[in-house]
Point group: C2
Chain length 216, copies 2
Amino acid sequence: MPDQELQPAAPKPRRRQARGERRAAQLLDAAATVFTQVGYAGASTNAIAREAGVSPGTLYQFFPNKEAIAVELGGRLLEQWRTSYGEALSAENIRLPLTEMVDAVVDPLLEFNFQNPAFHVLMHGPDTPGQVTDAFEAFHGAVLQRIEELLALYLPDTPRSEITIVANTVLGLFKAGLDLLAVHPDEQEAYRVELKRVLFRYLDPVIGDCVLPGQA
Amino acid sequence: MPDQELQPAAPKPRRRQARGERRAAQLLDAAATVFTQVGYAGASTNAIAREAGVSPGTLYQFFPNKEAIAVELGGRLLEQWRTSYGEALSAENIRLPLTEMVDAVVDPLLEFNFQNPAFHVLMHGPDTPGQVTDAFEAFHGAVLQRIEELLALYLPDTPRSEITIVANTVLGLFKAGLDLLAVHPDEQEAYRVELKRVLFRYLDPVIGDCVLPGQA
DNA sequence: GCTAAACACGAGCTATCACTCGCGTTTCTC
DNA sequence: GAGAAACGCGAGTGATAGCTCGTGTTTAGC
């Protein structure tokens, strides 16, 4: 067999029609709904198809298996995150006073998680398939790095290992706030304020009285 | 049928031998191990039996179904909690300064959760059976009430609704710390310190400068 | 309009898992 | 030591869930 096709497996010579594109998106929406209701393992493919109003066979015309659904949904969520809220952690906020910086970072992140509950489910579910977990972990690492860079600007003399710990803690506190908001849906405002209070009080002694590079 | 036995269903006229008692405990241990590894839904009864070194049939000689295993394990964990660490939140700590109080409360709680990882899995798993969830929620409420009472002693003039929010936040922060410790097992000390720092800084402005009832 | 391919269906196949059953072994009670 | 009951086994059963397949319908390109 000399010089065969080197692509490991001709991926998919399939031209999708507009109708198919719609169906696929519709199925991903249905999957997101079912996943948030019963988790990944608890979601049966038949239930997802039913939620989308199609037959099981149709589902498998667009996704080779259940895992692929989670993978594509995870990818879609991550991309949505990056295009919509990836700026929340950008450097533009670092010149703000701590109170406003916490506002500027926390609010968009809460907004995203509130509007995409499947994000949280897939990210923290114990039964999420490995490929999705890997993607989310890469994302987690990227977010962490952004936080570290931000902190490093305020704390140029602090060893990186300590900054890493603070960054992980900050992210953990944010997740705790997310959980509190999810558990107390009728007191969102109160717990949103409380989350910001926690972050402010934790960070204020660390970076509150630092002089930023570009300030007087 | 006049005046039949009123017990809804003769519960269990079964005398267990010492060997059986050992087997049951051994099966619960195995279940705790498997649950922590793959969660409740992911744990097959055959896997639990295998982990315990017995046959599936033997398992069902001691537990009527899979749910009963989780229920008994949950009960055992809650009882273990109450007898071993229920004192950690007792009123004896409230006269300590905040730093030491945080130590006195956090350390035993971390210790328990560290030695009983199944506790966390069953308490937060999305697939835990309802009966177990209910028991844990009752427990959660009891712990919350203890925290509220403790806070109320420091803050007699604060409305109860606000105290509830602070108590929930404190508990959420503790859970976040637990997660961080679980994710970074090689830096336990650092994150333990960080958790205490978070709690101290959050609570210090609230109760730091209060005059306790029995103090000068 | 005609053909091929994409889309859609839903009954059914297969593997897995909670759980059972018949039978053999150990332990208790007398 | 004999009978009963608890213990123990593991192949087997029924249900469920992931996935397939044969067939029919809609769309794209000519």
